[in-house]
Symmetry: C2
Subunit: 324 residues, 2 copies
């Protein structure tokens, strides 16, 4: 899938009817937030519950072929021997289309294979990473007290995509302040000063302290609003509560029909991407409008036409033939 | 240009015949390497030499519209009042095609306007940033002693694109070690243990100490090999030497025909990008094969076909009509 080997799309087409069982959990956040450790602990937690886990570590900004930083061999060594866990690292090279498309396709393979949970971890928090994480059902944004000013910078983008916030390394100074800041920012975003998480789920959220007594009285039909969990992933603290939150998000999405809507949007997006990728491939292949393109490139090189004139000419040709 | 406003491509087509005067200098490196400060000092240096300067700060990984971090107002405050300097910040939003294409197009506008030097600064060092920086004639990679392990990680990608390395904050501990590491890595890459920079240019490179007596005897026709300069940008130290290196790289490229070759490659790349962008736009526009696409999306949503089957069908339609 990653390398776009011959026939990969026909395999994906075959798998298409066997998707949707897995919960896809995207995990993003700045470098050093402890995402990898959190992924390892989450995997342990799921395994103890008898669930199988696919892990997909994505580094869209890495110009490398995968090896060193995220190499399958050096991360999660213990778990890599467990047949209920599959770990795969991807860097941007070898990706035929966009990284987000390829990530979704690899997640599809894991889903069709039967994994119960698919953890998609990104290395950074740039635009490419945000695109990648959009293939998830549930998005976790991991921050640490040390993120400091960075949070101010990243807020807008992360606020939009987060279903659950995690303040990791919550035993360090500044963790409470960070959580408060996040809760204030979330309140500003949704136009309310307090989080409204329905209390009827009966979960004791040790890590999600944003709830004031007042918010406990919120109507049960309230939409999901991102809670802020606290973890110390290196010691496994708070990970069980995080799992509860993730399960709850998935269940609530499924109940309310939001999961279906989100997956339908994703499917439409995927179709658009695949159409564009196929068209791009055809364009520059031997079967494509090669003569026209070569002539255009030659004219641009000769200086008789600008790239824009050449592009307009080619698109006109294609458009006209389409009209016939 | 950035927003793809109506008619922007016809303006670019008009400008096409008036390009090539400016030296486009790409400046990249990890966050905190002091790139912005270096850009400010380089601008000062060029202004003192009577040259005009366009500055283009690009943040491909930022999901923001520009404002806070790179806001034109807060950076280079002194220089923003100088009519010989134009500063523009770009974030990824609002970019119609890829960020690299848009960056090249904005640089074209600056070039056509008559700026002598165009400094293109990226915020990070991910794949998107490497793509952006490829629009430059001369690429500067800025590192600091603190980069530490990061260098190991980034080496491969950066080694390939750097025309000049800068060890900034060179007064800090570890600067010499970093420079040595870089020089060793460069030696490994080019298969020689020493840098071979022709001595006939007669420049005293205070900041490029990689030259051993042996390398001074290298043949004068040797190809450009990236020197390692040392600066303390915050104090303006070493910036004059860096300017000399940049001028020298540009001159040497022009003499050897490499500048022309590089620009020709860039022009071909631009044409491909513009063709793909135009085709993508046409595809999803009212004039495009809308009926076929809508039908495909509906079928995918209904579950009667996979995204891959739908894509294959659409491309087949386009291909056939092209054959007629």
């Amino acid at each position: 899938m990653e390398n776009g080997a011959a026939g990969f799309e026909s395999i994906l087409a075959e798998l298409h009817g066997h998707l949707g069982k897995a919960q896809r959990i995207g995990i993003t956040g700045p470098p050093g937030a402890g995402k990898s450790t959190l992924v390892e602990r989450l995997t342990q937690e799921y395994r103890q519950a008898g669930l199988t886990v696919g892990v997909l570590a994505v580094d869209p900004s890495s110009p490398f072929t995968g090896g060193a930083l995220l190499g399958d061999r050096i991360r999660m060594e213990r778990q890599s021997l467990d047949s209920g866990v599959f770990i795969r690292s991807m860097a941007s090279r070898g990706s035929l289309g966009g990284m987000a498309t390829t990530t979704g396709e690899v997640a599809d393979v894991m889903d069709a294979f039967g994994f119960d949970r698919i953890l998609i971890e990104t290395v950074g928090v740039g635009q490419s990473e945000l695109d990648v994480i959009r293939v998830a059902d549930t998005t976790v944004v991991v921050l640490v007290p040390e993120s400091g000013d960075g949070i101010q910078v990243m807020k807008a983008g992360l606020m939009e995509i987060a279903d659950v916030f995690v303040v990791n390394k919550a035993d360090r100074p500044g963790a409470d302040r960070l959580r408060q800041e996040l809760e204030v920012a979330l309140g500003v975003r949704t136009g309310s000063a307090y989080r409204h998480i329905p209390s009827h789920h009966g979960v004791d959220l040790a890590g999600a302290r944003g709830q004031t007594p007042r918010s406990r009285e919120a109507p049960v039909a309230a939409a999901w609003e991102p809670p802020v969990a606290a973890t110390v992933a290196s010691q496994g603290k708070g990970v069980d509560e995080l799992v509860v939150l993730l399960d709850r998000h998935f269940a609530m999405q499924a109940e309310g029909g939001e999961l279906e809507r989100r997956r339908a949007r994703r499917l439409e997006q995927r179709t658009r991407e695949v159409v564009e990728r196929a068209l791009r491939r055809w364009m520059w292949s031997a079967e494509g409008p090669k003569a026209a393109l070569d002539a255009a490139l030659a004219d641009v090189a000769a200086g008789t036409v600008s790239p824009y004139g050449a592009a307009a000419r080619i698109v006109r040709t294609l458009t006209r033939s389409e009209d016939r």
